[in-house]
Symmetry: C2
Subunit: 418 residues, 2 copies
């Protein structure tokens, strides 16, 4: 393409962008929040449990007790995550808090395989990127050094992990969203998981297996959850994995229930530690979930209704990206079969500029670099798109605007390079 | 009393105790749990919020957001604790977790007035005794040295606090249940509070003002909550106090909502720290509480109904203690005007024995020493009585049994001393 052609394109894009700014938009593609229509799917829960406050196993859920949660909910989670009810406990409203607390307990005490508290030495975490900003926020907050690892379509780059772990026993943990990963939508394969579990590492190395989107499929052929605790045991590292999950994007965001699954030794350690902080989770909310979801089949049926609402939104984003940027070859994006995000890579060095342009046009995008440790995207190219919360019309307008901003930024860079 | 008389009394008590054991009791006076009839008072909440899931200020409580909680609930708490809505935030289901998290954040980062993290040095807490076992559990868990302070009817022994604080800048905190204290029922007076707030201490010294029983009165003339944050400000130590509270013993135990009130600087510090761990508390449960309790007057009206149920139980315990042990002068006990406990002091050196005898007779009492740091009652004399959970009949049988065990233990000691 000649400079002249580029200039013409840029002029067209600038006009389009000016029109966008003139429209006075106020649209938000930042966070992975369910839309109001998705929340409506769980409306019956808002009147539960009513008079039916005794759990099936006979617990008065209105009173204190039971730090590991209702057995009936543990059974549902145990099936959802292929971890089994005995190795799965049901907790409060935020799986992120469970991850946070496990890191805090490890810093102050060490885990079951630690020789000393994590906090007694400089330690590091492996971070598949792009990844989940709130994961990185916890490790950054506690001064844990984060090392970027490529997140590939089949999972994290295990060869890179192997080398780092072999060289450095101060690597104590790894963040990982194994199913429909945030923001790529990639899912860890059985093979990659097995290799990761088998790696030589510090005895107290832990994979934070945040299966937040285990059942959040957009397709018929959803992957079965890997029996990751069994696989860890087979690999001879039975304490290596903490499995996390919640119903935040199944029932109500922020008013759901969280799960933790791990080896018995890890669960005993966690339960002992958390018992200093709380008498137990909100069992009434747990009961409400048991009554509404019933079992893992009930969860899957419920998720099919979510899919009906959000799959068209994902398709719309993909259609607009293809329509606006498919020919130009200046961007690439993932086509997730589940989860809550689409990961868009624009021309290197233009993500921050694209996001700034969009902001000025009234379209809020997740801050540049958010999907990377220290909020630093080494290529300044990644943009996380969250399609679920806006209405279809808002989403169409916003995505078209994002495409304009990305293309405009790209032409600027290309012209600068001339 | 002659040895002969004592022997006769012991023989009678032994017979009475043998009959108690033969009765095959299974009674529990251990924890401060509300009874089922108390929980019934909040039955309407079990069907809330129904369709009414938008908060009065317009928030869709079903979705993410709002780490400081619903303003409407903050207003209720702000009045209940005389801390004002702005300096009061509404959180999750457990105030104990908030206390725990504040200690963890302080250990790992230090508080707003710390020169270095609490965890970077040996530190100590002042512990009014007898006190709340779960408080002491947190500080013990994190290796914070605990120093016993006498809890008097007007509050902690401030002279002792003054001397310790003047001598030792490593004292960083103090536990305190200011209203109807666990287990004595004592309430901190305005004068004691002011003196405590004015004491010279390390800049980052904090009073953990756990106002768990702020509205849990058993009498008409309930003490108004002290405006403790204003008082701290007047004393020139505006960051000294963290106020905690919850509705666990107002609505549902373990399924209530917690509050934290403090200076703006402290709240900002807490909010910044907790934001790494959670997107926010369960707003649906907060809304449910707002709808049911309405305002601080609604809380007080609700507590009056609790009082109708539990005041007779407290009176029954006091009547039995007076009837069985009033003349013998071998025990003393508190007569609380609120809260959840009666503190019984038996003959020095006989609390553990009394509790063991009761256990063998099928009456569970809180473990000996529980109300003291390191579970060590220096005089082995304190027994915490929790009257609320058993039925009246169970309570009568259990307390009569406890009196028998205490008297039997006392006669043993007196005979041994001959």
């Amino acid at each position: 393409m000649s400079v002249e052609e580029l200039r013409t394109i840029r002029t067209d894009l600038q006009k389009r962008y000016d029109a966008l700014c003139a429209a006075g938009l106020k649209l938000d593609l930042t966070r992975g929040k369910p839309g109001a229509d998705q929340l409506d799917l769980s409306a019956p829960m808002l009147s539960l449990p009513g008079d039916d406050y005794i759990s099936p196993s006979g617990t008065d859920c209105r009173n204190y007790g039971g730090v590991t949660g209702l057995p009936e909910l543990r059974a549902i989670f145990g099936e959802m995550f292929a971890t089994g009810a005995e190795r799965t406990i049901a907790l409060g409203n935020a799986s992120l808090q469970v991850m946070h607390d496990i890191i805090v307990f490890s810093l102050l005490h060490g885990n079951v395989d630690s020789e000393k508290p994590w906090g007694a030495q400089p330690i590091k975490f492996l971070c598949p990127v792009p990844g989940y900003d709130r994961h990185f926020g916890i490790t950054e907050k506690y001064g844990i050094e984060m090392i970027n690892i490529a997140m590939n379509p089949n999972g994290p780059d295990v060869d890179a992990c192997a080398q780092l772990l072999a060289d450095d026993p101060s690597i104590k943990g790894m963040w990982l969203v194994p199913t429909y990963s945030n923001p790529t939508g990639y899912t860890v394969t059985d093979d990659v998981a097995r290799r990761l579990l088998a790696l030589d590492a510090a005895a107290d190395f832990r994979v934070f297996w945040d299966n937040a989107y285990a059942v959040h499929t957009l397709v018929d052929a959803a992957p079965a959850p890997l029996p990751i605790l069994d696989m860890a045991e087979e690999a001879g590292h039975q304490n290596r994995v903490y499995v996390f999950g919640s119903t935040s994007k199944i029932t109500f965001a922020g008013a759901g229930v969280a799960a933790l699954a791990s080896s018995q030794a890890n669960l005993d350690w966690f339960t002992r530690n958390i018992s200093a902080a709380t008498i137990g989770p909100d069992k009434i909310n747990q009961l409400r979930h048991v009554q509404f979801l019933r079992d893992a089949d009930g969860v899957r049926a419920h998720m099919a209704r979510h899919r009906e609402i959000i799959a068209p939104k994902f398709q719309l984003v993909l259609d607009i990206l293809e329509d606006r940027m498919g020919d130009a070859k200046i961007a690439s994006w993932t086509s997730p079969e589940g989860g809550y995000f689409i990961s868009l890579d624009v021309v290197d060095g233009t993500a921050a500029r694209t996001i700034a342009l969009a902001k000025d046009a009234g379209i809020a995008l997740t801050a540049a670099g958010s999907a990377f440790p220290y909020k630093t995207d080494p290529h300044d190219r990644n943009i996380r798109i969250a399609p679920t919360f806006p209405t279809t019309d808002e989403l169409r307008t916003a995505m078209d605007g994002v495409a304009t901003c990305a293309l405009l930024s790209a032409t600027e860079v290309l012209l600068d390079a001339q």
